[in-house]
C-alpha cells in the first residue's frame, strides 16, 4: 500500500485518467507552470508528462475557464478544470450553474456535459476571506451538479476517477489542508462510486455526520469520547449530492442522535439539509436535539488566533456531543 498525501493521490488519479482517455484534458491557472514546485501538489509534473496540449495554463479568467469546460464537454471532450480558491467560484458560477448544470435539461436530454470542476478550498492558510470561503452549500443546491468532498487520500483518488468518468458535471472540492498528510492508497487500480457515504468509525451513541477536512476533527473527538465510554459513529458523506440518505438514516436510526460538523459558516450551511432529511425520515428514532458544529457566521479572518477561532475543533465537537447525551 502506498502512502500518499491527498494532493499526490489526486495527481495519480489525474494521471491515470489522462493515460486512459485522450479526451481528458486539464485547464486552470498555474496548473502547468506554477509558482509552487512541491511534488505534493495535485498538478505537479503533469505538464511534463502530458505536454501543453493537454495541460492548459489559462489567463486569470474563471468564467472562460468554466466556459471552456462546458463547450469542450458538449463537443465531446472530458475537461477537468481547476478553480484556484473557492471564493473565485463566484466568477465561474454562471457557467457552472446556469450552463453546465442546466443545458442538458434544456436540450431534453440530447446533450451531456461530462466535466469536473476541481475547487481548492478551506481555511487555515492565513490568507483571509477572499481566499477561504467554503461554498459547498451553493453547488449542493443546484440540480444537475454532483458535489464530492473527499476527506482522505484514498477516497480522493477513487472518487476523482469516478468523477472524471461520470457523464454529468461534478464539482470536486479539495480542502488544501489535506494535501500534505500521508494516508494509505491502494497500489492497484480502483474507483469509489459517487453517492456513497462511508462510515469511518462505527458507534452506537451518536451519529456524527461530516465531510472533507472536518473528518479529522470528528475522528479526534470520537477518540476522546471513546476514552470516556461514549461511542460515536462517524459518517463521512464524501458526496453531498447525490446524498446517501440510506447510510445517513440507518445510522441515525441506530443511535438516535445527530451532530453535523462542517467548516462552512453555520447559517444556510449543508448541515441544514442533513437535519431536514433526518427530521423528515427518521423523526421517530430521534432521542435528542440536533447539534451543529460549524464555522461561525463571519468571514474567515486572516490573523492566526482569529482564524483558529473560526475553524471548528475537536473540543467543540466533544462539547456538542456531550450536550445531547
Amino acid at each position: 500500500m502506498q502512502k500518499l498525501g491527498m494532493g499526490q493521490a489526486i495527481n495519480q488519479a489525474l494521471r491515470e485518467e489522462m493515460e486512459r482517455d485522450f479526451r481528458v484534458f486539464l485547464a486552470g491557472e498555474g496548473i502547468g507552470v506554477g509558482i509552487h514546485t512541491s511534488p505534493l501538489m495535485p498538478t505537479t509534473g503533469l505538464l511534463d508528462a502530458f505536454g501543453p496540449k493537454r495541460v492548459k495554463d489559462t489567463p486569470v479568467s474563471e468564467a472562460v475557464i468554466a466556459g471552456l469546460a462546458v463547450g469542450a464537454a458538449a463537443a465531446g471532450l472530458r475537461p477537468v478544470i481547476e478553480i484556484m480558491f473557492n471564493p473565485f467560484f463566484t466568477l465561474a458560477s454562471d457557467m457552472i450553474v446556469n450552463h453546465a448544470a442546466k443545458l442538458r435539461y434544456l436540450s431534453g436530454g440530447k446533450t451531456a456535459f461530462p466535466l469536473v470542476v476541481r475547487i481548492k478550498s478551506g481555511a487555515g492558510f492565513g490568507a483571509g476571506c477572499q481566499h477561504s470561503h467554503n461554498l459547498e452549500a451553493w453547488v449542493a443546491h443546484c440540480p444537475g451538479l454532483k458535489v464530492v468532498m473527499p476527506a482522505t487520500p484514498r477516497d480522493a483518488k477513487g472518487l476523482l476517477k469516478s468523477a472524471i468518468r461520470d457523464e454529468n458535471p461534478v464539482i470536486f472540492i479539495e480542502d488544501m489542508g489535506l494535501y500534505f498528510a500521508p494516508g494509505d492508497v491502494p497500489d492497484e487500480a480502483y474507483t469509489i462510486p459517487l453517492g456513497k457515504a462511508d462510515i469511518k468509525r462505527s458507534g452506537t451513541d451518536v451519529t456524527l455526520v461530516t465531510w472533507s477536512k472536518m473528518l479529522g476533527v470528528s475522528l479526534q473527538a470520537a477518540e476522546q469520547l471513546a476514552a470516556q465510554g461514549i461511542s460515536v459513529e462517524v459518517v463521512d458523506l464524501r458526496t453531498l449530492t447525490p446524498l446517501d440518505t440510506d447510510t445517513l438514516l440507518a445510522s441515525v436510526r441506530k443511535t438516535g442522535r445527530l451532530v453535523v460538523v462542517h467548516e462552512a459558516t453555520r447559517t444556510g450551511g449543508f448541515a441544514g439539509e442533513i437535519a431536514a432529511v433526518v427530521m423528515e425520515q427518521a423523526f421517530a428514532a430521534l432521542k435528542a436535539p440536533l447539534r451543529r458544529v460549524t464555522g461561525p457566521d463571519i468571514p474567515v479572518p486572516a490573523s492566526p488566533p482569529l482564524e483558529q477561532f473560526y475553524i471548528p475543533d475537536a473540543g467543540q465537537v466533544v462539547a456538542a456531543i456531550k450536550e445531547i447525551l
Partner: protein, 321 residues
C-alpha cells in the same frame, strides 16, 4: 471567389422560411394567444443567420443566443420540432424543457442556445478548443448581440480565443439595441469590430442585411480559422424591426428609423440581386414562398396536434443515468 448558385438559393430559401416562421409566431402570440412566455424574434436580421450558415459545413458547431430562430432554421433545424418546442409540447426538439429561449438542436450541430447574455462566447471557445484538440476540420460559430459585449464573459472568451488561436467565429449581430438601450447608450465606441484588435483578432464590420456579404465574410473567417490563424470577429450591422420581445412597446425606437430599415429588407435585397442576375424568376420565388408557407403551416399543425408533456416528465433529463 464567387458564391455557388445553390448556396445563394439556400440563403433565399432559409431567409424566407425564417421570416414566415417568425411572423406566424408573432401572430400566434399576439392575436391568438396560443403561446405562453417570452417571444423574441429576429425579423429583419435574417441575412445574418442565412449568410453565415450557408458558408458552413455539417461538422461546424453553432452556439447561439436568445434570438435564435433565424440561425437554427438556416442551419437546417426541423421547423416542426422547433415549433412544437416553442409551444411547449412533448414532441418539441427539447421535450418542452427549453421553450423558445434555449433551443438545442444537436442534430444539426447547434449544441446550445443560451439566453444568458454573454453566455455563448465562453462555451463557443470550449467547442472550438475541442475542434482544435482533435484536429477536426471544423470551426465553431458563436452568435452574439451588440449588447452582449457589455458582459465580461465575452471579453474573457475573446481573449482566450485570440491567445490560443482557436477556430471560432464571433458573429456579432449589431441590431442597434440591447433591449430598450440603443447602441451608443451601452457602448462608448462606434465600432465593435474594432475591438477585435484588443485581442489580436481581425475585426470586420459588414452590412448585415446583405446575405452575400455575410456569406463572404464567414467564408473568409472560416478559412482563416481552418488554416490555424485563429478567431475572427464579424460585426453584422443590421436592425431589429420588432420589439425586443413581443410585449415590448418599442417606444424608444424612432418610427422613421424603423421605416428606413424596413426599406433595407434583407430578403428583398437578396431576391432582387438574384432576379437581376437572372438566377431567380417569379415562379421560383413563388415556389419558395409557398414551400415556406407550407412548412410553417405544417409546423403549426404538428405543434397544435402534439400532446402536452405529462407533468411528471419535468423530472426527466436532469441527469445522464
Amino acid at each position: 471567389m464567387s458564391i455557388p448558385k445553390e448556396r445563394q438559393m439556400e440563403m433565399a430559401r432559409t431567409m424566407i422560411l425564417a421570416r414566415q416562421f417568425e411572423e406566424t409566431l408573432a401572430d400566434l402570440v399576439r392575436q391568438q394567444g396560443k403561446i405562453h412566455g417570452m417571444m423574441i424574434l429576429a425579423t429583419g436580421q435574417e441575412a445574418v443567420g442565412s449568410g453565415v450558415c450557408a458558408a458552413l459545413s455539417a461538422n461546424d458547431i453553432l452556439i447561439t443566443n436568445h434570438r435564435s430562430h433565424h440561425h437554427l432554421l438556416a442551419r437546417g433545424a426541423d421547423p416542426k420540432a422547433l415549433m412544437a418546442e416553442i409551444f411547449g409540447k412533448r414532441t418539441g426538439c427539447n421535450k418542452g424543457k427549453s421553450g423558445t429561449l434555449h433551443l438545442a438542436v444537436p442534430e444539426v450541430n447547434a449544441l446550445c442556445t443560451t439566453t444568458v447574455v454573454g453566455g455563448g462566447p465562453p462555451i463557443a471557445v470550449g467547442a472550438a478548443f475541442a475542434q482544435q484538440y482533435e484536429n477536426r476540420e471544423a470551426v465553431t460559430v458563436c452568435f452574439l448581440g451588440d449588447g452582449s459585449t457589455g458582459e465580461g464573459s465575452v471579453h474573457e472568451a475573446f481573449n482566450l480565443a485570440g491567445l490560443w488561436r482557436l477556430p471560432v467565429l464571433f458573429v456579432c449581430e449589431n441590431n442597434k439595441y440591447a433591449a430598450a438601450q440603443s447602441y451608443r447608450e451601452h457602448t462608448p465606441v462606434d465600432s465593435l469590430a474594432a475591438r477585435g484588435a484588443a485581442y489580436g483578432m481581425p475585426g470586420e464590420s459588414i452590412d448585415g442585411n446583405d446575405a452575400l456579404a455575410v456569406f463572404e465574410a464567414t467564408r473568409r473567417a472560416r478559412a482563416r480559422a481552418l488554416a490555424g490563424e485563429g478567431p475572427t470577429l464579424i460585426e453584422c450591422l443590421t436592425y431589429r424591426w420588432r420589439g425586443h420581445g413581443e410585449t415590448d412597446h418599442q417606444l424608444y425606437q424612432p418610427a422613421d428609423e424603423i421605416a428606413a430599415w424596413k426599406k433595407k429588407c434583407p430578403i428583398d435585397r437578396l431576391v432582387n440581386t438574384l432576379r437581376e442576375a437572372g438566377a431567380l424568376g417569379d415562379a421560383d420565388l413563388e415556389a419558395m414562398r409557398a414551400t415556406a408557407a407550407e412548412a410553417v403551416a405544417d409546423a403549426v399543425r404538428f405543434a397544435e396536434e402534439s400532446p402536452w408533456p405529462e407533468p411528471q416528465e419535468a423530472l426527466d433529463d436532469v441527469w445522464v443515468a
